[in-house]
């Protein structure tokens, strides 16, 4: 089977989620990549070095600069003429593009797979991760998105794929990119951080969130996350949200501060290796999944902890 993997990239570098998708695809067969964007020569060269990669298809042009699904989907469909599976990481781009490709191919997509059981059988989370379904696809071609935290990352070095330009049809004329407000941070990215410190509604306001959570995160070189309640209350922007409808994370250590542990939050972080919870309510559901719990007032214990590290 020949697979085509969507390469998620930013600032000229291949993102980690791509490496997990490569691992998932390699369980199905030969791995080819698609790099789409504007001025992506360096990305294509980096992608070609990923261990186990065959051909790297590169679509370089203004129409692909912002990964607009209207322009990218026809390109993928064209390449799927000689591939058997399209595999994308379940990132915002992957989730936006893959179903458009699937419908154009008349294929039912398999979303956010957790494992590859065989060439046509996969497991995937449903009901916010409360039920894991094993599904078998009868479609001749497969369209799959991959939950990055469920697969090891392929090595960035060791491969020697052949880079090949694909022309593509260009701008479909349906949509245009207006702009982006991307949060800039010196901290590691949430989805690839080894340590995450997350804050919840108990922080009460934005000032507290910054003055309590961030110093601890800085001490640990950690990324900062938040519960949906904290995001909805406006303490931090939407891209901080960890949970079923936010980001799915699985760091080495996840520190939940003032987070009660709603199902939808747990769905986003329960695959973390070690979970540490700080909460003043000893009955909080977060303690049922935490490896280490501390019952106490976060306004007192978190600054104290930061001071002692």
């Amino acid at each position: 089977m020949k697979t085509l993997v969507w390469v998620e990239h930013e600032g000229g570098a291949v993102k980690d989620a791509t490496l997990s998708a490569v691992t998932a695809a390699s369980k199905l067969g030969e791995v080819h990549l698609l790099v789409a964007g504007e001025g992506v020569g360096a990305v294509a060269d980096a992608a070609a070095k990923i261990a186990g990669v065959g051909k790297v298809h590169v679509a370089d042009g203004a129409a692909y600069a912002n990964a607009l699904a209207e322009n990218v989907a026809p390109l993928v469909v064209e390449l799927m003429g000689h591939h058997d599976a399209f595999v994308a990481p379940a990132t915002a781009n992957g989730k936006n593009i893959a179903p458009r490709v699937a419908a154009l191919l008349d294929v039912m997509q398999i979303s956010e797979i957790l494992s590859v059981e065989s060439a046509d059988t996969f497991t995937r989370p449903t009901y916010a991760g409360n039920a894991i379904a094993t599904v078998q696809s009868s479609d001749a071609k497969k369209v799959i998105t991959v939950r990055a935290t469920s697969f090891e990352k392929a090595a960035r070095e060791g491969g020697s794929g052949a880079v090949e330009a694909v022309p593509g049809a260009g701008d479909a004329g349906l949509s245009s990119f207006v702009g982006a407000e991307i949060s800039k941070s010196e901290r590691p990215e949430l989805t690839s951080a080894k340590v995450i410190v997350s804050g919840g509604r108990a922080l009460q306001n934005s000032e507290n969130f910054h003055s309590i959570i961030e110093p601890l995160a800085d001490k640990l070189g950690a990324a900062v996350g938040a519960s949906r309640a904290a995001v909805d209350a406006g303490y931090v922007p939407n891209d901080y949200q960890v949970g079923q409808t936010g980001k799915i994370v699985a760091p080495e250590v996840y520190i939940a501060v003032g987070i009660s542990g709603a199902i939808q939050h747990l769905a986003g972080m329960k695959d973390s290796k070690v979970i540490i919870a700080i909460n003043k309510d000893e009955e909080a559901p977060i303690f049922q999944v935490a490896d280490v719990g501390l019952v106490g007032d976060l306004f007192k214990v978190v600054p104290e902890l930061t001071g002692k590290l």
């Binding site: 915002a92 989370p125 991760g129 039920a131 949060s183 950690a222």
Partner: protein
């Protein structure tokens, strides 16, 4: 412009789903069902467009068992003008739903279709994008802001690093994210009024669409459980733990 809003009847957001003992699915017997929360946001957005004088008519549509009527009545009580129910006793996958919706789009010619970004039961996150593909329309997924400007619509999207704005030519497809709006509750008089609003009943066969499933669910199981660990007594003990884990010096 006409706005089409597809809605799905799903397990209520506050109910904890239980996997059936025989591993065939999730137990939905005697479980409270409601409108998918992302679809409620879609209905609300359509109503706000109507209040601004941009939308002229709101058509709600649902595909599912006969009881999905209740979900459509909720949409009507919130402010939709009429409803279409496509009855199917068996579950229809996102691809099948998108094909049926494409037929309705052909008939109704809406300027905008607003859908929830995903249903909280199957968590597929596909239908809007698939509908956009099948109708050849642009898509603004995971929207946190929707602004109609002449013959285009500006959609602010929630993406991995923050927010991104795209401009789409109408007719277009929009899928909603959590922060687009806060849906209203239907008032009692509006619930009464909704009972007399038109609700058409159809079947997939009426549209000539084959909705046979492409995916077969072999098994449904509970996720591996995490067990509760230990509680530490004070900050010193916690600091020692963090050091032992090698994440702090």
């Amino acid at each position: 412009m006409k706005v089409l809003v597809p809605v799905k009847r799903v397990i209520d957001y506050n109910v904890k789903p239980r996997v059936k003992m025989d591993g065939t699915g999730v137990d939905l017997a005697n479980v409270k069902m409601s409108m998918n929360p992302f679809d409620e946001i879609a209905v609300e957005e359509a109503i706000r467009l109507k209040e601004k004088g941009i939308a002229t008519e709101i058509v709600a549509v649902s595909i599912g068992e006969p009881k999905a009527q209740e979900t459509l009545r909720t949409a009507l009580a919130m402010g939709a003008d009429r409803a279409i129910l496509i009855v199917s006793e068996t579950e229809v996958e996102p691809l099948g739903v998108a094909k049926l919706l494409a037929k309705i789009v052909e008939e109704e010619a809406p300027g905008l279709v607003i859908l929830g970004k995903q249903a909280i039961d199957d968590d597929s996150n596909q239908t809007g994008q698939m509908l956009a593909a099948l109708t050849g329309r642009p898509q603004g997924t995971f929207a946190s802001k929707v602004e109609v400007e002449g013959d285009s619509v500006k959609v602010t999207r929630e993406v991995d690093g923050g927010l991104e704005t795209v401009s789409l030519k109408t007719p277009a497809i929009v899928t909603t994210d959590l922060r687009l709006n806060e849906p209203r509750y239907a008032s009692l008089p509006n619930i009464m009024k909704a009972k007399s609003k038109p609700l058409a009943q159809k079947t997939p066969a009426d549209y000539g669409v084959d909705v046979s499933p492409r995916l077969k669910t072999l098994k449904v199981s509970e996720p591996p459980k995490r067990s509760a660990g230990i509680k530490v007594a004070d900050v010193d003990e916690l600091a020692a733990k963090l050091k032992a884990l090698g994440v702090a010096a």
